[in-house]
């Protein structure tokens, strides 16, 4: 496997085996055990677009494993602003590093970079395209809560049109036979070509505008942010967005082990009253970005995660 550009680069067995590696790396991610498995390796962080969680969690993951990180820095002051092509930037960073994590505003940039590079590329988001490392941490969080991925009922809610995290995730969940409910305002429905693709892969999908009516028998409710700028006027936004807000009082009657996830940052789609409920998982989810990326870095660098991490074995 050269890099991770889309979830199609991983088989279901590979996904599960990487999640197993991540599980064993948890004490390292938490800083309880120092385990320099990637000592001497250098990660190039190429973020051509703003990122907080993805960039920081890649950096943390590498450093927790004893590796080092070099950053592109601010795009405004780098050679990109002088008109350097992505091809040339990759040629340079490829020579400096062992692996590259990249986010780019243009779709297809990650595949393009992989074709230009010798080292593996980890796609940290390319335009409205793919974000597979987010999907891996989402799958890790779901499996952590439910002990399995297959056959779950998952509600994806909010902005399903522009949110790349929900696009990648719904493909992955379909591969594990999950039932998907897409709850969104009609303006922000899941793109038709993605729904068609999912159907072709045997997905069991229901589309609705009624979020609150969908959570009663859900195992996972995955919330996303509805952005004001997607709407023509503010009244329209206020009317629509109001129906996609969760308050602790909305969760009465939901399944005991149902979890609420969110790729963050949230604005007001999840009320702080939810934070204290047993359902809230979004902060653990954000933390899991570190451990999922640790496992991916090891896999793409061909470093086996031992059966016992941090012990004598």
């Amino acid at each position: 496997m050269p890099g991770l550009i889309t979830m199609d680069d991983l088989s279901n067995d590979e996904i599960l085996s990487i999640l197993d590696d991540a599980e064993r790396l948890l004490p390292v991610a938490k800083g309880e055990v120092y385990f320099p498995l990637l000592q001497g390796k250098i990660l190039g962080n190429l973020f051509f677009e703003p990122s907080t969680r993805t960039r920081m969690s890649f950096e943390t993951a590498m450093k927790r494993l004893g590796g080092d990180v070099v950053n592109l820095g601010d795009v405004k002051t780098s050679s990109v602003v002088k008109g350097e092509t992505l091809y040339d930037t990759i040629q340079m960073v490829d020579g400096y590093t062992d692996i590259i994590a990249m986010r780019h505003p243009r779709q297809g940039a990650a595949q393009y970079a992989q074709d230009a590079a010798r080292v593996p590329i980890l796609n940290g988001g390319d335009g409205a395209g793919h974000h597979p490392t987010q999907t891996m941490l989402d799958l890790f969080t779901i499996r952590q809560a439910h002990g399995r991925l297959d056959g779950l009922k998952v509600v994806l809610a909010g902005d399903l049109r522009y949110g790349r995290t929900v696009h990648s995730l719904s493909h992955a969940l379909t591969r594990f036979g999950c039932e998907l409910i897409f709850a969104s305002p009609s303006l922000l429905r899941m793109p038709r070509e993605i729904v068609a693709d999912l159907a072709e892969h045997g997905a069991n999908v229901t589309e609705t505008e009624d979020l609150l009516g969908s959570i009663g028998d859900a195992d996972v409710v995955y919330m996303t942010r509805i952005q004001k700028e997607r709407f023509a006027d503010e009244d329209e936004y206020a009317k629509v967005a109001g129906a996609y807000k969760l308050h602790a009082s909305n969760l009465e009657g939901s399944k005991e082990d149902m979890i609420i996830m969110h790729p963050l940052p949230r604005v007001d789609e999840i009320h702080p009253s939810v934070d204290a409920t047993r359902h809230a998982r979004y902060f653990e989810q954000a933390f899991n970005g570190v451990v999922a990326r640790m496992a991916l870095l090891c896999r793409l660098l061909n470093i086996d995660v031992p059966a016992i991490v941090g012990g004598e074995a």
Partner: protein
């Protein structure tokens, strides 16, 4: 009207390439995809909308003193996938070629998606469209993965 009659609309050529069975109306686009324009010095004959038993109507192109290569002809897969091509030497057919679609169309057209990385003309890697289905033809960009609209794609010939 017979096949023979069609071919006589323009004189037989001594050496060169004859492209027959081009869908009616596509001949101009075929010329443009082959890079044949006013700067081309060799004589080029073109007949459009002539009757065809197989196709109803069709276009034919004859390029004199130039033997088109298989890779040049494969560029036509998008607009004339069933065209018949004959290489003519000394007034007779020396070779018959057919257009091969292959698994990918490389450096013939640019992806139609406005936010694809390949829209930057300075990026040097090849434009690549993967063939996902043949009948009807379905293509996706190798980089951004977007399905391509064939009519729009015809405007994006490199």
């Amino acid at each position: 009207m017979s096949q023979e009659h069609n071919m006589r609309r323009v004189t037989a050529i001594r050496n060169g390439t004859v492209i027959d069975h081009i869908p009616a109306g596509q001949a101009m686009r075929v010329l443009s995809m082959l890079g044949i324009d006013k700067s081309t010095s060799v004589p080029v004959s073109l007949v459009m909308n002539v009757p065809s038993k197989k196709m109803g109507t069709k276009d034919i192109i004859k390029v004199e003193d130039r033997e088109l290569t298989q890779s040049e002809l494969n560029r036509l897969a998008l607009v004339a996938p069933d065209a018949h091509v004959a290489i003519i030497r000394a007034y007779s057919v020396a070779e018959k070629l057919t257009i091969e679609l292959g698994d990918e169309i490389v450096n013939v057209v640019r992806c139609t998606f406005s936010n694809c990385i390949t829209t930057n003309p300075r990026e040097p890697l090849a434009h690549r469209l993967k063939i996902v289905a043949r009948a009807p033809l379905e293509l996706r960009c190798h980089y951004c993965g977007r399905p391509q609209d064939l009519d729009e794609l015809a405007q994006n010939v490199l």
